[in-house]
């Protein structure tokens, strides 16, 4: 499958491995999609997605790996599960998005919505360090990673988070060694 015109594509070279891979990793039966668009119709973040949920399924069916994994859309899903609840074929797009995000990161695709991706990463790091999420360190981490210190709206986000009474230092759980170990074993295994 390759691009043939601006905005066109050529089928017939038989790359359907992408569909198969996504199907396997997500466990979702994407070939059943009716393209009825009920998912997009109810999605709270669809207006912000560059590729709408139903289009994303379509593009996976047509084997358009690069566009799908490089899309911003996969980082916008907040997994509210409205789509899966109403889908006639019970395709959970949230699950699909999660699989796509993992694939995108795994393949080192340049992430379009870098900020959201970094937030995920920062969150995991925070749990890794202390066993619990500590918003201040997490946000600091996130800000550092995103190199987006000047971003206004984020600034307000940080400020608002800070309005609560935060402990000055992260409260560590006693068994943080165990947590660290779990993460290490996981990383090794994967």
């Amino acid at each position: 499958m390759k691009e043939m015109w601006e905005g066109g594509l050529r089928l017939g070279e038989g790359d359907f491995s992408f569909l198969e891979e996504v199907r396997r990793r997500s466990g979702e039966h994407l070939d059943l999609c009716y393209q009825c668009m009920k998912c997009t119709a109810g999605c709270p973040t669809a207006p912000y997605m560059d590729i709408k949920p139903h289009q994303l399924i379509r593009m996976i069916q047509m084997g358009r790996r690069g566009e799908v994994l490089g899309s911003g859309a996969i980082w916008f899903c907040v997994y509210c599960q409205t789509c899966g609840t109403r889908c006639p074929n019970e395709i959970h797009i949230g699950v699909l998005m999660d699989a796509l995000r993992e694939m995108a990161v795994g393949e080192g695709v340049e992430v379009k919505e870098r900020r959201i991706h970094l937030l995920h990463e920062a969150f995991i790091q925070s749990v890794r360090r202390g066993g619990r999420v500590h918003e201040v360190t997490m946000l600091m981490d996130y800000v550092l990673r995103s190199r987006d210190l000047m971003k206004d709206s984020l600034g307000s986000g940080v400020k608002l988070f800070l309005k609560g009474k935060f402990p000055l230092f992260p409260s560590f759980v006693k068994e943080r060694e165990e947590i660290r170990r779990i993460f290490e074993r996981c990383t090794k295994k994967q």
């Binding site: 009716y34 997009t40 709408k52 139903h54 006639p88």
Partner: protein
């Protein structure tokens, strides 16, 4: 020792491509009592059959095995063929070497050849001990029971009556017409539904060959094809219909009003009322659950005012016995229940209605006299949304199948709306437009072009009420972007489901239903109106969703089948049924309990169990359960079966 012949069919390449038929014919021919063993490309063809006939006569064969496809295909063909050559047809048996051998062992040719030989040898064992039998002749009753008084049942009844057969038409409700009576106009010619229906209904009530039972259900059925004994449960209407003249004075004085289900809760009806104003038969019925007399005896106004003294509060249900030869099930459909469609606000938002409710609104004799007014405040809706595939084509949550008529009736409704409200805007959310009948595609094109109906491809995610509007969330097909429509009225094309009680009815009649509750036909292509039980026929939406045209064809088809069935004096049945060795039977009665067809009965005088030949289907359950080995199946005796098994071991 019998002189046997074996005929092995190639079935083109179907068998010969896997099984070495030449070798099989040769090897089988070596068996002592096999006097003739040949193969041929298509045994079922005329020359193939001729080979069998000639061999029977030339070699004086006394038994024939045809090794070919499943007996469900050509057993009849070959039994007829041997009969014309003067052999008893029950001395001919089929060895299935296609479905049970060549098709399943395409990769193992040698094994398949060996297995084919074994199957043939086993069948030879059976033929060696087969008896010469004659088909059982049974007398038949020429009357027909039709269940359901909608367009399907009405058509079948009239066709049968015109063919000279006596028909008992049983309708659950108080009048004829079914769902068609609720419709406004019909697609694709926009002819009004009611006048045509009325003409048919009047023909039925005046037809001397049709006996109509309203407010009635089939309570019990016994017997078998040609000889059913039925009991009809006729429920009390509390009105003597022989006296009632339909003057409607009782309706005027009745003080109780409640939402009419015929009008899909959009209009009111009285506790004594017609089903609908011009119903046939034009007779009133008292609804005891609403009537004050039945609640606290406080009102007898209808009784007082009736000039014919027709009101009978003490009327009782009746049980009517009849005998019939065949039965038509034409029980029709219901729409998917409201309660289960949460995201569409159905049943909760008054301005979200279903297709049938909108039909009532469009009907000139409906609750709004044909005016489109939204139920909540009676205003004319300026923006209307039609949603198709509501609970249809929704395999994980509701019904997987397509309801077949919604595309067309939605187009019709949108068209009628636009004609009545020229400045209104109808939107239709659809999945695939299915206009596959004669003239349907053209109708749809016209609707889109001339009436400015906006078709949007896709489902609706959610419907809710806000700001006095019904908000509909969908997606614009072209841009893929979400859109919100603030509609005044939303019409849902909800799924067609089999009508209530079909399952129980089917059980009584030993007909089968599929997992959705639709009645199953004997063969989806070749026997679409026959049920799996002989003598029981299917018509209309009880079998699967269909439009009026197809329903009428199907109903006529059942009538044709029944006329052919009942045209002879006797019915003939295969004699391959159970029999009892009366000297061995101890009369324990186990077989009576186990028989699924009620074909076994105790003869207490003689202390044995007997077989009703007409009821027995030859299933063998009694044979397996008999502790004394007193029962046997004709031409499938225990000895035969054991010998057959021996061949394989």
């Amino acid at each position: 020792m019998r002189r046997l012949g074996v005929f092995i069919c190639h079935c083109g390449v179907n068998i010969a491509g896997t099984v070495d038929v030449k070798k099989v014919a040769e090897e089988i021919g070596k068996i002592e009592d096999v006097c003739h063993s040949i193969d041929y490309i298509y045994m079922c063809s005329e020359p193939g059959q001729q080979l069998i006939r000639e061999a029977i006569q030339e070699k004086q064969l006394e038994g024939v095995v045809v090794a070919c496809c499943s007996p469900s295909m050509h057993e009849n063909t070959f039994r007829k063929a041997v009969k014309t050559a003067g052999m008893n047809p029950y001395l001919c048996e089929i060895a299935n070497i296609r479905e049970q051998c060549s098709w399943v062992h395409q990769k193992e040719k040698e094994e398949a050849t060996r297995k084919a030989m074994e199957i043939i040898q086993a069948t030879l064992e059976k033929v060696r001990r087969n008896e010469e039998l004659e088909p059982l002749a049974m007398s038949i009753n020429r009357n027909v029971l039709v269940i359901g008084g909608g367009i399907a049942g009405m058509t079948a009844s009239l066709d049968l009556a015109q063919g000279g057969y006596e028909v008992f038409l049983v309708e659950k409700g108080p009048a004829l017409g079914g769902h068609m009576a609720q419709l406004s106009k019909t697609f694709p010619d926009l002819s009004p539904a009611f006048p045509n229906l009325l003409a048919k209904a009047l023909e039925i009530v005046s037809h001397p060959k049709i006996e109509l039972f309203c407010c009635s259900e089939l309570e019990e059925v016994k017997g078998y094809v040609g000889n059913f004994e039925i009991i009809i449960h006729k429920k009390a209407t509390y009105v003597d219909w022989t006296r009632c003249n339909g003057c409607a004075r009782c309706i005027e004085v009745c003080p109780v009003e409640y939402p009419s289900s015929f009008d899909r809760e959009l209009g009111m009806r009285k506790a004594v009322d017609f089903l609908y104003p011009n119903c046939v038969p034009k007779r009133v019925k008292v609804t005891p659950t609403q009537c004050r007399y039945f609640q606290d005896r406080s009102c007898r106004k209808c009784e007082e005012v009736c000039p014919e003294k027709a009101i009978q509060f003490d009327q009782k249900d009746e049980r009517i016995h009849r005998k019939v030869g065949a039965i038509v099930i034409a029980t029709g459909f219901d729409l998917f229940p409201k309660e289960r469609l949460g995201e569409y606000g159905y049943g909760e938002i008054p301005d979200v209605i279903d297709g049938l409710a909108f039909e009532r609104m469009l009907s000139p004799d409906g609750p709004t006299r044909g005016k489109i007014l939204r139920p909540s405040d009676g205003r004319v809706p300026k923006e209307m949304v039609f949603i198709q595939c509501v609970a249809s084509r929704d395999p994980d949550r509701y019904m997987p199948y397509c309801s077949r008529i919604c595309c067309m009736y939605t187009a019709k409704q949108a068209k009628m709306y636009k004609e009545q409200v020229p400045d209104g805007q109808p939107y239709v959310f659809y999945m695939d437009i299915r206009s596959d009948g004669k003239g349907y595609e053209e109708f749809l094109q016209k609707t889109i072009e001339e009436n400015g109906v906006l078709y949007l491809r896709g489902r609706v995610s959610r419907v809710f009420q806000e700001d006095g509007k019904v908000k509909v969330w969908g997606v614009d097909t072209l841009t893929g972007k979400g859109i919100e429509i603030g509609a005044d009225l939303v019409v849902l094309a909800t799924a067609i489901i089999p009508s209530e009680g079909v399952k129980e009815l089917a059980a009584k009649l030993r007909a089968t239903v599929d997992k959705h509750g639709f009645l199953t036909e004997a063969h989806i292509k070749l026997y679409p109106v026959e049920s799996s039980t002989k003598g029981i026929y299917l018509a209309g939406c009880g079998q699967s969703p269909k439009d009026i045209t197809d329903t009428v064809s199907q109903a006529s088809a059942t009538a044709g089948k029944i006329q052919a069935l009942l045209s002879t004096d006797k019915l003939f049945q295969d004699p391959l049924i159970a029999y009892v060795d009366e000297t061995v039977c101890s009369g324990c009665g186990i077989c009576v309990e186990i028989c699924p067809y009620e074909a076994r009965e105790m003869d207490y005088r003689r202390g044995i169990s007997i077989v009703h030949v007409a009821l027995c289907q030859g299933c063998g359950a009694c044979i397996a359960s008999c502790p004394n080995f007193a029962c046997e199946l004709r031409n499938s005796s225990s000895v035969q079966t054991l010998r057959m098994v021996d061949t394989f071991i």
